[in-house]
């Protein structure tokens, strides 16, 4: 591995980079800034085929013509896109000798989440042999999938091993020019996941990037593609409840889902990126584009998300309901505390007949944070008998935070039934006192009340995840009530 990398580096420096590329390539980072050279570097480092390089370059051209969106209800200093790094070699994680070397605050959070010692070591990069256990889990996991004909690998591997699939589907759900960040991601994405479920196969386990332990370092521009062929089923888990720190401030991922006739994709996310400190310093900007298309009749896509991290979240997992009788669902809990800002929601685009969508959004704001729901329900002319139900609830803690709802409904077909409900409530002092009187301390009481409020969404998560997510909510809201 080391030698091939080195060879590659040499090759790159000697051939492609004659365009005044003066940096010492032996360092593990390409210089700051974005230009064709950097894109060529990324592509060649990853030994990509020509078509993918062309795709990147074209995306870059498109991106240059686009403007950063500013309609979201978030505020942040202007990002200088030339002041960012776009390529960093997957450097080996610094191996620590023991957990004593890990940031105690991080360990504390692990403990609260109930993550086992072994897991704590793995997540924080402590060198251990005992973790072999999880490697063997990963191996059996891969074997089972193979037997079923399921492909689950990194985007990089997929490009090498299944180029036709990637070429056919990449950017077919989220076109390059869809938005500023999608175009940027298309130009510079570093890695991500690819998943294919063959016809009629029910994936027997939750697919989680978590199992691909060797490739956890996917970087800031992740690209994910999940394809479910006819009558197949897959449940995909992204992220983990453990706190994720990253030196890169900007994250702009793209996720594309495709469900063929009768297929179902369940995509669950727990996002817990570093939200910045109590004063709002640091923290990750998370600008994600997630979209799924229900291409075939009777197909179904559901998004479930628990968002607690990031300084800024800009995210609208969407469904295009093209097949007749197809179903789109969006279940979301977004928690903001301190100075976090979240502008999140969904788009449900009804095209096929008898299509149905459900939106359940639960915002929780505390501290000085701002939490917005932004949703679009669009019923096209062709979508006879389309139905939508939306429920957007906001829960406020304290009086310094904000909750906003921006529901947009566009209907071109009079047979459509669209229902929208919205509520805003405060955690009542009476509720807290009631809990106190039964022996439950205030922090625990808030946790109980918030979990109750978010239950409809948490119930949609796979079991093990749901338990962790509950604890995560607790941690995110810690110290939110004096």
């Amino acid at each position: 591995m080391a030698t091939t990398e080195k060879e590659l580096l040499e090759k790159v420096t000697k051939t492609e980079y004659k365009y005044g590329f003066t940096t010492n390539i032996e360092s593990d980072k390409a210089p700051k800034g974005l230009n064709e050279d950097i894109i060529r570097l990324i592509s060649s480092k990853k030994e990509e085929p020509q078509w993918l390089l062309d795709f990147r370059l074209k995306s870059f051209e498109i991106w240059k013509t686009m403007k950063e969106p500013n309609w979201a209800h978030v505020k942040y200093p202007k990002i200088d896109f030339q002041d960012l790094y776009y390529y960093a070699a997957p450097k080996p994680k610094k191996n620590l000798e023991s957990l004593d070397e890990v940031d105690p605050e991080l360990l504390d959070t692990f403990k609260k989440l109930g993550i086992s010692i072994e897991e704590q070591k793995r997540l924080s990069g402590v060198a251990v042999d005992i973790v072999m256990d999880s490697v063997s889990v990963a191996t059996t996991f891969t074997k089972t999938l193979k037997e079923k004909g399921i492909i689950f690998c990194s985007m990089g591997e997929a490009v090498k091993n299944y180029p036709e699939l990637i070429q056919e589907h990449l950017a077919s759900v989220v076109p390059v020019k869809d938005n500023f960040y999608a175009a940027l991601n298309s130009a510079v994405f570093t890695d991500g996941s690819f998943c294919y479920i063959p016809k009629g196969v029910r994936c027997p386990m939750e697919l989680s990037t978590y199992f691909r332990i060797n490739e956890s370092n996917t970087g800031q521009f992740e690209r994910t593609l999940v394809i479910a062929d006819e009558d197949s089923y897959v449940s995909y888990l992204e992220g983990c409840t453990a706190p994720m720190r990253d030196e890169n401030q900007l994250h702009a991922a793209v996720v594309e889902l495709k469900a063929a006739k009768g297929a179902e994709i369940k995509y669950s996310t727990v996002q817990n990126w570093y939200p910045g400190d109590k004063n709002g310093k640091g923290g990750i900007y998370n600008f994600v584009t997630k979209r799924g298309i229900c291409e075939g009749d009777h197909s179904k896509i559901s998004w479930t998300q628990v968002e607690t991290g990031s300084a800024i979240t800009w995210k609208y997992p969407s469904c295009i309901l093209k097949g007749n009788h197809s179903i789109g669902e969006f279940y979301s809990v977004a928690v903001t505390n301190n100075h976090q800002q979240a502008d999140t929601g969904t788009k449900m685009i009804h095209i096929g007949k008898n299509t149905k969508s459900t939106i359940i959004s639960k915002g929780v704001s505390a501290g000085f944070s701002n939490n917005s729901y932004r949703g679009l329900v669009r019923i096209n002319k062709s979508a006879t008998n389309a139905r939508n139900f939306s429920q957007c609830d906001s829960l406020l803690m304290g009086d310094q935070c904000g909750a906003h709802t921006f529901p947009y409904i566009e209907t071109e077909n009079s047979s459509a039934q669209v229902e929208h409900e919205a509520t805003t409530s405060k955690i009542g002092e009476d509720q807290i006192f009631y809990c106190n009187q039964r022996g439950i301390a205030t922090e625990k009481a808030i946790n109980l009340i918030v979990n109750g409020y978010a239950k409809e969404v948490l119930n949609k998560l796979p079991m093990e995840f749901a338990v962790e997510a509950q604890k995560l909510l607790e941690i995110s809201l810690e110290g939110s009530v004096g």
């Binding site: 106190n436 009187q437 022996g439 439950i440 301390a441 109980l448």
Partner: protein, 251 residues
């Protein structure tokens, strides 16, 4: 068990309790009666530790500890229970989960391990029968969509589960139909031992036919102006509060 001495409390600068003195011993049942707005619920809230009220004077000893210095949840853990006049709803939190959290919090306070699932479920079953609580209610969210009577019955169910030393029942009888009143009262009586105590707040002497008090106190404008036996309740029912006021003033 409980000694209230010269307790004064106010809310938003308005004094509500104007020097309450009351002693409750183990094994006793006390009833407090008094006109609307006289401060009965305020007294209950102050004892339970609701923040809105400012205690301006006095002391409360509970089992030898200064109650007023404890956080509300610690008062509960020490064995103080308040059945609320208006129980709140907590959407999405099942009664069962709520109770388990409560029991385990109290056990934690006492340095005990969480209650084993089997023991907990057995207890739920037993206490549910005691107050004849409908089976489905325990799985529903705390008080959400419960009828007025169901909420009151649920309070007594919680009391049975938590097994407090001192239970304060704030108008638990109001809103109950005749059968429910009998059931709730029976439940309270069955839970009564020589070691615990009950403080009933009520407007109706009817409840006291079922739960017979050792003492009846009349709270009037923030003060206990008369104390007597259970016959006092009957007298009040007959003659109203004006009578007392007059006799007290003349006394």
């Amino acid at each position: 068990m409980l000694q209230i001495k010269n307790l004064e409390a106010s809310i938003e600068e308005k004094q509500i309790l104007k020097g309450i003195n009351l002693e409750i011993k183990r094994g006793e049942v006390h009833a407090i009666m008094g006109p609307n707005g006289s401060g009965k619920s305020t007294l209950a809230s102050v004892l339970a530790g609701k923040e809105d009220y400012e205690v301006t004077n006095g002391s409360v000893l509970f089992e030898g500890k200064e109650l007023l210095e404890l956080a509300p949840e610690d008062r509960a853990a020490e064995g103080l229970f308040l059945a609320f006049q208006y129980p709140v709803e907590i959407p999405g939190v099942s009664n069962i989960n709520f109770l388990k959290t409560a029991i385990n919090s109290i056990r934690e306070y006492k340095g005990m391990q969480p209650i084993p699932a089997k023991e907990f479920l057995a207890k739920v079953k037993e206490k549910k029968e005691l107050v004849e609580l409908q089976s489905t209610l325990t799985n529903r969210s705390v008080n959400e969509g419960f009828s007025g009577g169901e909420k009151k019955r649920n309070e007594i169910f919680q009391m049975a589960m938590l097994n407090p030393k001192l239970a304060i029942l704030d108008e638990t009888d109001s809103g109950l139909d005749i059968d429910a009143l009998r059931i709730v009262a029976n439940g309270v009586n069955k839970l009564k031992t020589k070691d615990n105590a009950v403080l009933l707040i009520t407007h109706y002497q009817r409840l006291l036919d079922y739960i017979v008090p050792d003492f009846v106190h009349v709270l009037y404008q923030g003060r206990i102006i008369k104390t007597g036996g259970k016959e006092l309740a009957l007298e009040l029912e007959e003659k109203g509060y004006d009578w007392i006021q007059e006799t007290e003033v003349s006394a």
